[in-house]
Symmetry: C2
Subunit: 363 residues, 2 copies
């Protein structure tokens, strides 16, 4: 920790604007998955806050969320007895570049040199010491003006993530590397080659850079984002403890990710590989993989009677109790809003269900 | 119908004492399956009433049910605008022989010669004209003192039913036969032999006999049943339109089926084979088999989104809507009390679930 704190203040910036539906029926627009205690007794948003809360070298966190989730953020932050540095509520979603730019503007007003550790609010990190070690390794490079992304050590050839190819080592320890290439979601064979080659990492969307450098690079590569976020923060209001950026100014921002807007263009990108039990819990299958399971490979939550089940996730939260007979490698979710049943390997198709429901089914 | 009516009055006697749980979570002790609109928009109890309601030759029906279901019976009978001859509420369940004996006592007080057509309240009969024809064929034999059971034409080697082997023909048409043997639930190979042999029928628990003959045979083969039911009806009370047999007298009755108590012992048994689209809807799989299905073999009721499903029964009644992806030959039931998920061929194991719930699971 002293390694972290020796490099000046780091502001955790927690991005909580997502409204993912891949965990329907549990995750819904009014309560996305970062606010749900999916893996532990705390929500992933709370777990994300706890990764830096009270750790030497870290300032209180900034949370960037959507206007419709302000009450949820307040409640979940308060439950940790935590006073965040700021809670910024976006008037509308504009992807990660504008969200990070809002936080960078706030931090730069305190200290342009200060580092910001950008973290999605809905990822699991099982090995927090490994994460802290990676931050400590990345901090000198970030202080030197690098935009550091953390490259997640892949353990299987996932085709649903972007990859980062590392280039030359930048530090004496050989931990920080230049970025040779950002790669979009690859086909299966390519993902397998990446895994075998040992130079590719998953792009987990976790970053460390100084607020001033980020704003400079935004100015250079995404000037419309820089301008709209700057104006939105300059004209922001304070209300009920929230910071509300100006809606008109922010609405003028393009919808663009930090990867596309800055990371893939800047020559200051660096990558720090890390193996830390990371998961984006991007599907019911992914949730099954990181939850505790019994000797038959079943993970069960809530009122469940299981007869002859193997390899299932049975998740009851607010819905009727579930009795399951003879299922194998399946997912059953019971909520008050809906019941989902499928083989685990169809987890990516939940989006089809959500589309049909939005199209009018079940309404 | 004139064939039926030419043989004097027939009282339909509907046995509605069952509290089956093989269709959990839909069927539960407080609302057994005969009261649920499982197959059509009417309950099976109502469908059973309608099979003789207004048909020439049939008197209004007697319903024998349990004290805890009196209100349900009243409501469902009233919905048909039907005035039954009598609704007898058993103070406790004592199996079919005592239940039938109660009705026989009531009918014999009107007319010992009158026939009674005993029907379980929770069976489906798709081909009612075939049923009526079988009754017409059976009526002369019943009038002559036979206890006629209807032998259901088997279409597959079911191991969960008792079988009836027919003996010699008793009438000129070769329809009514003596009973060569009643057989308990057979092993698979034996059931297959029965099916191939063409002399065995399923024992569907549907009977035609005169009230007086039934009481005589009870007196001979099950005197304790005859005595207790006689006393219970002699000391019965009328309340709210129900007939309430005396509890102490009825409670003294042995718990015994009409098959074991009378049919397997009497030399007056006869069987009339009938092929009438019969089902006892004894499992979720059986319900799937008799419901309408789409081109992919799916039968769906209530709010359902189905993606790539084949051969499934998805049944939503009072529970959250169900989204199902990629299931094959499975059952999903959603009620407010519970959700059930299993392959269709595990339908017989629902009883295991119910036992576990009674043992304290989910409570």
């Amino acid at each position: 920790m002293s390694v972290i704190s020796s490099h000046g203040p780091i502001y955790p910036v927690i991005l909580s604007g997502g409204s993912g539906t891949r965990l329907w029926p549990l995750s819904r627009p009014e309560c996305p998955k970062q606010f749900i205690p999916l893996v532990t007794d705390r929500s992933m948003m709370q777990e994300t806050l706890l990764r830096t809360l009270g750790v030497p070298g870290f300032e209180p966190a900034l949370v960037v969320s959507s206007a419709s989730h302000g009450a949820l953020v307040r409640e979940q932050v308060a439950a940790l007895n935590h006073m965040p540095a700021a809670v910024i509520l976006e008037p509308m979603g504009r992807n990660t570049a504008p969200a990070i730019a809002l936080a960078a503007n706030w931090i730069a007003k305190q200290d342009r040199q200060a580092l910001m550790l950008v973290m999605p609010s809905d990822h699991v990190i099982a090995d927090v010491p490994a994460f802290h070690a990676a931050i400590a390794a990345a901090a000198p490079a970030a202080r030197d003006g690098r935009l550091v992304t953390f490259g997640i050590q892949p353990h299987y050839p996932e085709t649903g993530y972007g990859y980062i190819a590392k280039g030359d080592a930048l530090d004496a320890d050989g931990v920080v590397h230049t970025v040779a290439q950002f790669v979009e979601k690859p086909p299966r064979a390519q993902a397998e080659a990446y895994l075998a080659g040992g130079r590719h990492y998953w792009n987990g969307g976790i970053f460390l850079f100084s607020a001033g450098v980020l704003l400079d690079e935004l100015e250079r590569y995404a000037p419309a984002v820089a301008a709209s976020s700057g104006h939105a923060m300059a004209a922001s209001r304070q209300e009920d403890g929230f910071i509300l950026p100006d809606e008109t100014a922010f609405g003028a921002s393009p919808d663009i990710s930090i990867d596309v807007g800055v990371m893939e263009k800047t020559d200051r990108a660096a990558v720090v590989p890390v193996d830390m039990g990371w998961s984006d819990v991007g599907s019911w299958d992914a949730l099954w993989a990181i939850r505790d399971r019994d000797g038959d490979g079943n993970s069960m939550k809530g009122g469940v009677v299981s007869v002859d089940g193997v390899g299932n996730l049975i998740y009851v939260d607010g819905g009727p109790p579930v009795a399951m007979i003879g299922l194998r490698d399946s997912v059953v979710v019971s909520t008050a809003k809906g019941v989902l049943v499928m083989p685990r390997d169809r987890s990516q198709d939940v989006k089809t269900v959500v589309e049909r429901i939005r199209g009018g089914a079940l309404v």
